[in-house]
């Protein structure tokens, strides 16, 4: 109770504001980041479930064993069986090799099926979302099946032995995902009709899937039971795996949020430590007074600890509230970009925020206040009573340990933690040594300059211990800010570049040679242009260096089990880079060395390493029953982000043209021309259109979300940086006030003192900015190398803006603060330094 009273009075007196707000800022930054990350992660998991249409999915080439279903039932899991296969479907005289999917009526267990009652509609008002599959006797089909088979909704479709009625068209299946089949249009039928159709015979190639959904713990139990029973043909898909690609992008974004959050805490921690130190200095007289009244050291300790605890608790709670508001306003800003309603956050972000507040108290505030209870009461009588605060080195070590602990906890990454800490340590080292030299140099130069400069620079040198500490604080804060801004812009530039505004957003696949001219004309009529046509021949690798690949290798590599898309090009396609060997023009005497019938081939590096081939390996390809040999002459890396067609296997012109081929391309289709897809499909129903715009839109919205997050985080970090500066300036203010008062007593004008102060602060800022540029450059080097895997380049702008901004901001702050000193009568300043 007494502690509360004292706390309230100190608060009212304004001595605690800086400590309080530093703590609040630390908690705000961390809470906002943690809440956002938690909710986005939850949304991601939920969305991934939609991509599987379940919480988990088992894929197998055999019928789902009964005991799997029984066990799932025992574990209270919902199940749905599906079978996917290619089958001829008929309507009158027309037929089509369709991609049939037979589902039990519970499909989908997660997410929704989007249907329409008219083909090729694009406006959502015609859409209908359902959480079940077609009833027995009905099928739902892709729009393009209707023109292919020249039929309409309501007509009958024969699948094997059964005749089913087409009742709806499919707009979107939750689990269609990124795998696009070159087989025909989708036909979704009921599981009950499967047997009657008789299409599945022993030996048929069928992809069976078991969809599972239920409580996390039940599912985990079940999967633990199931996994040992899976063989190499079976595959278990969890939400994480389903979305590996997008998850990578998000992980990068999340890493940045963690980085920004951590840096915010580090800055707030520095501000807190400085503010606490200032508070402790101001409390010396109060503690001596309390002790002269007979309060024991234990009672004084208890009073101060209670006050700091309640202050930290109040600060943390306020920080949690503001952190929640910050994250809510962010969610509000980007609500339209969020794919689903964000799930509520769990308890962890709140705990992280609260723990941050308390850890900041332990790491930054308590060490500065630790010595207060042991102060001698004699200080009430004498100014020269020695005060023994915890040494700066010990405070530094404690602060660093707490920072280390927090960084590790937030990032769960030793590399990231070490990179940030290295930045800090390097900056400190880069400040202390060169800072001393620069100060000395400045003083020498200043002694030759006018009196204002001489006085200002001599002041810095005279207080070099303090100046170096301030320099470290300023330079550290600025280095972190610079690092942050540079990383943010670098990261965003990378993303923007990857997703150019007019990046191709549609792939046209399966265009037959005789359709090529027609499709090209149709594109031209609609003012559209493709990135160029790529011919593809479907072929299989049958021998490697004359030997059939081992069963084990085939088992492990999909590329050896299926047909590959082989293509040819004289030019090295955009986004391709030859990593080993020579592109065609660099090959000499190839035909003489390998024979007329052997082709040179270029292969993608990951595929090469997966199937164990190198430069010079001989591959035998089988295309439509004909075989030919090829020798690997180059190994390429591909940039998949360009959204243009990429091929694992490329030949020069003149080798594949004799085989049956199809064509593909990619093109940019502006949103207002979206109906073109329908025009194209109704004229060329066998062309497969892959609508990447949907995928791109999702990635872009995620990037935008993350960008907004970064902007907000940067603002918070800037706030933390300002707190550090205020605390640092305040710490040195008593001495500055006194000096200014003495100078004025001796007849110096207020204007002159202000000039001296601004030069002094400005020089301090310029030095800090210069040193911060060094520190930031080093931290960037580490971060770019270890985190963002980006090449390193020197950042010239840092070296210019660092000193300039430092001089302006710190100089302005100095003048702003010292104006108060100049306005106060010297006697008042000299008589009462208890500020």
């Amino acid at each position: 109770m007494m502690a509360w009273k004292l706390l309230w009075r100190s608060w009212r007196g304004g001595q605690l504001a800086l400590i309080f707000w530093s703590l609040v800022m630390a908690v705000v930054v961390v809470t906002a980041v943690a809440l956002l990350a938690d909710r986005v992660e939850k949304a991601l998991v939920k969305e991934s479930s939609h991509l599987l249409a379940a919480d988990a999915q088992v894929r197998t080439s055999r019928a789902i064993p009964d005991n799997w279903l029984q066990r799932a039932d025992d574990e209270r899991l919902e199940t749905v069986q599906m079978a996917l296969f290619a089958s001829m479907v008929y309507s009158g005289d027309n037929n089509h090799l369709a991609a049939v999917k037979a589902v039990q009526s519970g499909y989908p267990l997660r997410g929704l099926l989007t249907l329409a009652e008219r083909p090729f509609v694009t406006t959502p008002e015609f859409f209908e979302s359902v959480n079940h599959g077609p009833p027995a006797g009905e099928v739902w089909v892709d729009s393009r099946l209707l023109p292919i088979l020249k039929m309409e909704l309501g007509d009958s479709l024969e699948v094997g032995e059964v005749t089913l009625r087409v009742t709806k068209v499919i707009v979107e299946e939750p689990d269609r995902g990124g795998s696009f089949s070159l087989f025909g249009a989708r036909v979704l039928m009921n599981w009950q009709d499967l047997n009657a159709s008789g299409v599945i015979q022993p030996g048929s190639r069928v992809d069976y899937r078991l969809l599972l959904a239920g409580e996390d713990s039940d599912l985990a139990n079940y999967l633990a039971w199931l996994e040992p029973q899976l063989n190499s043909h079976d595959r278990l898909l969890s939400p994480d795996e389903a979305q590996a690609g997008i998850a990578d992008t998000l992980i990068q974004g999340r890493r940045f949020l963690i980085l920004a959050g951590s840096l915010g805490v580090v800055l707030a921690g520095i501000a807190l430590a400085l503010a606490s130190r200032h508070y402790a200095v101001g409390q010396t007289a109060a503690v001596a007074l309390l002790k002269s009244w007979g309060l024991s050291a234990r009672r004084v300790r208890s009073l101060y600890w209670q006050q700091t605890f309640w202050l930290a608790l109040a600060g943390s709670l306020l920080g949690l509230a503001i952190g929640w508001l910050v994250h809510e306003s962010l969610v509000f800003l980007v609500r339209e970009l969020l794919p689903v309603n964000l799930p509520q956050a769990g308890w962890r972000p709140w705990l992280v925020g609260l723990a941050t507040g308390m850890l900041c108290l332990v790491g930054f505030a308590l060490p500065a206040l630790w010595h207060l209870p042991s102060l001698s009461p004699l200080a009430v009588l004498r100014q020269d009573v020695p005060v023994h605060p915890v040494s700066a080195m010990k405070r530094l070590v404690i602060g660093l340990l707490v920072i280390l602990l927090m960084l590790l906890w937030y990032s769960q990454s030793v590399a990231l933690t070490l990179a940030i800490l290295a930045g800090l340590v390097v900056t400190s080292l880069a400040v202390m040594g060169p800072g001393w030299l620069l100060l000395n140099l400045a003083r020498r130069l200043g002694s030759r300059a006018g009196s204002v400069w001489r006085l200002a620079l001599a002041n810095l040198w005279r207080r070099r211990g303090q100046t170096l500490v301030l320099l470290t604080g300023f330079a550290g804060a600025m280095a972190i800010l610079m690092t942050l801004v540079m990383v943010r812009t670098t990261l965003m530039e990378q993303w923007r570049w990857q997703l150019a505004e007019d990046a191709p957003n549609h792939f046209l696949v399966n265009v037959a040679p005789h359709e090529l001219d027609g499709v090209e004309r149709l594109l031209a009529d609609n003012q559209l242009s493709s990135v160029g046509w790529y011919a593809m021949v479907r072929g299989r690798i049958t021998l490697i260096d004359g030997q059939p690949p081992s069963d084990e290798l085939v088992e492990q590599n999909n590329a050896l089990r299926r047909e590959l898309n082989l293509s040819w090009s004289d030019q090295l396609p955009e986004g391709n880079r030859v990593e080993e060997g020579q592109w065609w023009e660099g090959l000499t005497n190839f035909a003489e060395r390998h024979g007329e019938n052997v082709a040179p081939v270029s292969i993608e590096e990951d595929l090469a390493s997966e199937i164990g081939v190198t430069l010079g390996s001989r591959l035998t390809f089988s295309v439509g029953g004909l075989t030919f040999d090829a020798v690997i002459t180059s190994i390429r890396s591909l940039n998949w982000d360009t959204m243009t067609p990429n091929f694992y296997v490329l030949f020069p012109k003149g080798y594949l043209e004799k085989y049956p081929r199809i064509f593909m391309t990619s093109l940019y289709l502006p949103p207002e021309q979206k109906p073109f897809v329908n025009t194209l499909l109704s004229q060329y129903p066998t062309v497969l259109v892959i609508e990447l715009d949907m995928v791109i839109e999702r990635i872009r919205s995620m990037v935008t979300q993350v960008t907004h997050g970064l902007e907000l985080m940067t603002l918070l970090i800037l706030g933390c940086g300002v707190l550090v500066m205020l605390a640092a300036v305040k710490l040195s203010m008593a001495e500055r006030l006194q000096e200014s008062a003495i100078l004025r007593t001796l007849g110096s004008t207020a204007r002159r003192i202000l000039t001296v102060q601004s030069v002094e602060f400005g020089a301090l800022g310029a030095l800090a900015g210069l040193l911060a540029a060094v520190g930031a450059e080093l931290a960037l080097f580490l971060l770019q190398r270890r985190m963002f895997e980006a090449p390193f380049g020197l950042h010239v702008e840092l070296w210019l803006w660092g000193p300039l901004t430092g001089a302006l901001v710190i100089g302005a702050l100095g003048v702003l603060y010292t104006r108060k000193a100049v306005r106060r009568p010297p006697l008042q300043v000299l008589g009462n330094l208890d500020i």
């Binding site: 304004g14 001595q15 007074l289 002269s292 009244w293 007979g294 309060l295 009461p377 009430v380």
Partner: protein, 229 residues
């Protein structure tokens, strides 16, 4: 009663051991007002600190009401100060974030006195600051600040009051007002007063004065008249 026997205080400096107090013997009886006078650096404040239990001597014994405070731990001395002692300082030592009323009531609150505010109020009345209860130190003149400090010192009803140059920071007229108030309260409360000053007029208002010079007690005499007002 305060008894100081053979008090020696030495400090170690870069130039060797410096003796600040040299074999001081002194007794202050209950209700007595004692002035310690002497030039700057003679050890007055050091002696005051040792007599009040704020500091310990290098040798010698100090007894307050029969208890040997030099043998006590810091905690023991703190308890002794809480029981018997009050202070008035040259630089007032008011807490800047507290109002006049709160500055006076704080020591009472810390010892758990439930009527702290009422007592503080009445003492501020007695020093003539009824109209200044909610003012902060920065809003008060030097004389008013010292009056608050006097009210704070007496509100705790100490048996012994130690005053270190109580008017050292005040002009002569204000200083006289404060002195009058100090001795008036001292008389009304029946407090033992130990006062450090270099003002002869202030010292002359005490029952007795001792003079320190170079750490030695060179005079120990009784003021003839007007003792402690």
């Amino acid at each position: 009663m305060i008894e100081a026997n053979h008090i020696i205080k030495e400090v170690t400096t870069s130039e060797g051991v410096l003796r600040i107090l040299d074999d001081i013997n002194l007794t202050v009886i209950d209700g007595e007002a004692l002035a310690i006078i002497g030039p700057s650096g003679s050890g007055k404040s050091t002696l005051l600190g040792i007599l009040a239990g704020l500091d310990t001597p290098s040798a010698g014994v100090v007894r307050v009401n029969g208890e040997d405070i030099t043998a006590m731990t810091e905690e023991g001395r703190a308890a002794m100060r809480a029981r018997y002692v009050g202070f008035v300082f040259q630089s007032f030592h008011l807490l800047p974030s507290l109002t006049a009323l709160e500055n006076v009531s704080l020591p009472l609150e810390l010892r758990g006195d439930s009527s702290a505010t009422e007592i503080a109020h009445s003492y501020l009345d007695r020093v003539g600051l009824t109209a200044r209860l909610s003012h902060y130190p920065r809003q008060l003149s030097g004389g008013e600040q010292q009056r608050v400090a006097l009210a704070r010192a007496f509100a705790s009803r100490p048996r012994i009051l130690f005053a270190d140059e109580p008017t050292g920071n005040l002009d002569t007229v204000t200083g006289k007002t404060i002195n009058d108030l100090l001795f008036q309260l001292n008389r009304e409360e029946g407090t033992t007063l130990v006062l450090v000053t270099h003002e002869a007029t202030l010292a002359s208002r005490c029952h007795r004065r001792v003079t320190l010079k170079g750490g030695l007690l060179v005079e120990n005499d009784t003021v003839l008249s007007g003792t402690a007002e």
